[in-house]
């Protein structure tokens, strides 16, 4: 019994940043690399199932360059015995359609019983990978999940799906299944110092596209979800900034609030 958890290293832009030479992304020198917040919740959901039953393996997988190994180590520090990283230069700027193809091959290879992804990643927020992966596999799927009732061997899982405005849907789903996990489904644990130390020794399997029976040409032939033409800093509104010491700022704030309340 195995749960595969695709995780992602995301870029967060610095206060001041420059675009890459081709204008199609931020210059990586101005990005801070972090683990995607949603993946903390999907990984925790998998670990909780692992801990509640015998014989469950949780395997984190990422598609990313060398330093993306950090996100796998971060997972392994909390639990799990091995990780998988897939990379090829052809995957630079890959759109969700390409990532889906790669992950589908990893699923074929690993034969997991469940796949938990984050609902989205906070860098590009496409929210396409999990559900797209399920489609590529022909698996059932459910998105934006905030509750999972399932133990190994159950043919169906009972789920909570977070809808708009505080409404929740309870549904059941056939397994195996791909679920995209929403924030708040659990309280992700922190890694212990011991866990962090142990994680350094855990094996991470590096796979190329060729190892998965894919090539850059295959991905190109299938076409991406889209092609980026350009990125740009949007013209945005800007608040009237209240300057001064905190006391002065607060005083002005009181004035504003009183004016607004008086005028209302």
């Amino acid at each position: 019994m195995k749960i595969l958890v695709p995780v992602k290293q995301i870029g967060v832009v610095d206060e001041d940043f420059e675009l890459r030479g081709d204008g199609k992304d931020v210059d990586p020198d101005f990005l801070n690399f972090e683990a995607n917040e949603w993946d903390d919740y999907s990984y925790e959901a998998a670990l909780q199932i692992m801990e509640a039953a015998d014989g469950v393996e949780v395997v984190p997988v990422t598609v990313g360059p060398d330093d993306a190994e950090d996100v796998l180590r971060r997972c392994l520090a909390k639990g799990g015995e091995r990780g998988i990283r897939v990379w090829d230069d052809a995957l630079e700027d890959a759109s969700p359609a390409a990532i889906v193809q790669v992950l589908a091959k990893v699923v074929e290879k690993e034969q997991p019983d469940m796949v938990f992804t984050g609902t989205l990643s906070s860098d590009r927020s496409y929210a396409q990978t999990g559900v797209g992966l399920a489609a590529a596999l022909g698996w059932p799927h459910a998105a934006v999940i905030t509750g999972i009732e399932w133990k190994p061997g159950d043919p169906k899982a009972t789920l909570l799906r977070e809808l708009e405005g505080g409404l929740v849907e309870q549904l059941s789903v056939n397994c195996p299944v791909v679920l995209t996990i929403q924030l708040g489904i659990n309280t992700p644990r922190y890694a212990s110092l011991r866990g962090v130390k142990q994680a350094k020794e855990k094996p991470v399997e590096d796979l190329s596209l060729a190892d998965l029976g894919l090539s850059g040409d295959d991905l190109a032939a299938a076409g991406g979800s889209f092609r980026v033409r350009r990125m740009y800093k949007p013209e945005t509104g800007q608040a009237e900034l209240i300057e001064g010491t905190p006391a002065e700022q607060a005083a002005r704030l009181v004035e504003i609030i009183n004016e607004l309340k008086g005028a209302a």
Binding site: G11, V12, V13, F17, V26, P96, A97, L120, S122, S125, A127, Q128, V131, A134, A135, A136, A142, A143, V144, R161, E162, L163, G165, G166, L167, V168, E169, Q170, L171, S172, V173, Q182, L183, G184, T187, S225, F226, V228, R229, R230, M231, Y232, K233, P234, T236, Q238, A239, E240, L241, I242, P246, A247, Q249, A250, V254, I256, I257, L260, K261, A264
Partner: protein, 319 residues
């Protein structure tokens, strides 16, 4: 020139108003061209919604009876794929909602279609479809196109396009969706808990706290501050997820929209798209945040770049 096919969305018998916004986005994309706009209504009884989607610019309403009363991903995927196969639309437009998160990417993968989500602008550059969406927490916009794709799935950000108030008399047709094996089963809807707490959708003055509050023990002082100011206390998602305030206090897409709010003070809230969906309409937003680049400042009327605790302390002393 393929049509623009909009797929209507509904839940619990109510048309999602985002459907009308998506129709407006389609009309906008059509521009001066003679491209047709069709609206597909997937429902147990499509007639329930036909009268509501015949807005100006819609040429045809396609009734697609499906055997499920509420959203079911396999059924919707099969129906939209069959519509795409039969009608060869250039663009399939859906509102960017929790339901479409659950099936639009699957339609794109199975159909080999182009796909861009959370799009707030779509246009033709010559014959080339171009969509614009945000990246990196709204700090950048990205313009994308879809080379080699005859059909493209776009999910359209809500609260961007203004629905037309004018009705039209589109033709109405029927389409038989193929049977699909439903691998998920709707059990029930769970309504948000009525905690007897305040109803923030009715509040006129709100003070909301976000991640910047740091820890649970700090929440109390902002409760007191809100009381002192005569404001209703609200919060962003992480505060409710942590259980520091009840879910009924959460502002945003998965929480509440503060429809009646006149003044909204956001303390330590950076301004995710999901949070802003619930409050960006408020005419007077006052934001306090340490990060001068926080998105909240792009929609706020007044801003203070600073420490929410220092400002709160001064406010308490001065009130």
């Amino acid at each position: 020139m393929g049509e623009i096919l909009v797929v209507a969305e509904h839940r619990q018998g109510q048309l999602n108003p985002a459907t009308l916004e998506t129709i407006a986005a389609a009309v906008n994309l059509k521009g001066g061209s003679d491209r047709k706009i069709a609206v597909a209504v997937l429902a147990e009884n499509p007639d329930d919604f036909v009268g509501q989607v015949g807005k100006a610019g819609v040429d045809e309403i396609v009734k697609v009876p499906v055997g499920v009363a509420s959203f079911q991903s396999d059924t919707y995927e099969a129906a939209v794929l069959a519509l795409a196969e039969a009608r060869k639309p250039s663009v399939i437009m859906l509102p960017h909602t929790v339901d479409t998160w659950g099936y639009a990417p699957a339609v794109a993968v199975r159909g080999g279609f182009g796909c861009a989500t959370d799009v707030f602008e779509a246009k033709y550059d010559g014959d080339e479809l171009v969509a614009v969406r945000a990246a990196y927490a709204e700090k950048l916009h990205m313009e994308v196109d879809f080379p080699g794709k005859d059909t493209v799935v776009l999910t359209v950000r809500t609260n961007v396009f203004k629905p037309s108030e004018d009705d039209a008399s589109p033709s109405v047709s029927d389409f038989a969706a193929p049977p699909a094996e439903a691998r998920t089963t709707h059990m029930k809807f769970i309504e948000p808990e009525q905690t007897g707490d305040v109803d923030i959708t009715q509040a006129e003055y709100m003070l909301s706290i976000g991640r910047g509050v740091g820890e649970e023990d700090n929440v109390e002082e902002f409760k007191e501050l809100a009381d002192t100011l005569g404001f209703t206390l609200g919060c962003s998602r992480p505060i409710a997820d942590n259980g520091w305030l009840p879910k009924s206090r959460q502002v945003g897409q998965s929480g509440k929209t503060v429809a009646k709010c006149k003044v909204y003070v956001a303390l330590g809230i950076s301004g995710s798209v999901q949070h802003m969906a619930g409050m960006k309409h408020v005419p007077n937003i006052i934001a306090v945040n340490k990060d001068a680049e926080a998105s909240i400042f792009t929609i706020a009327r007044y801003g203070i770049v600073g420490d929410m605790f220092e400002i709160a302390e001064e406010l308490r002393e001065q009130m």
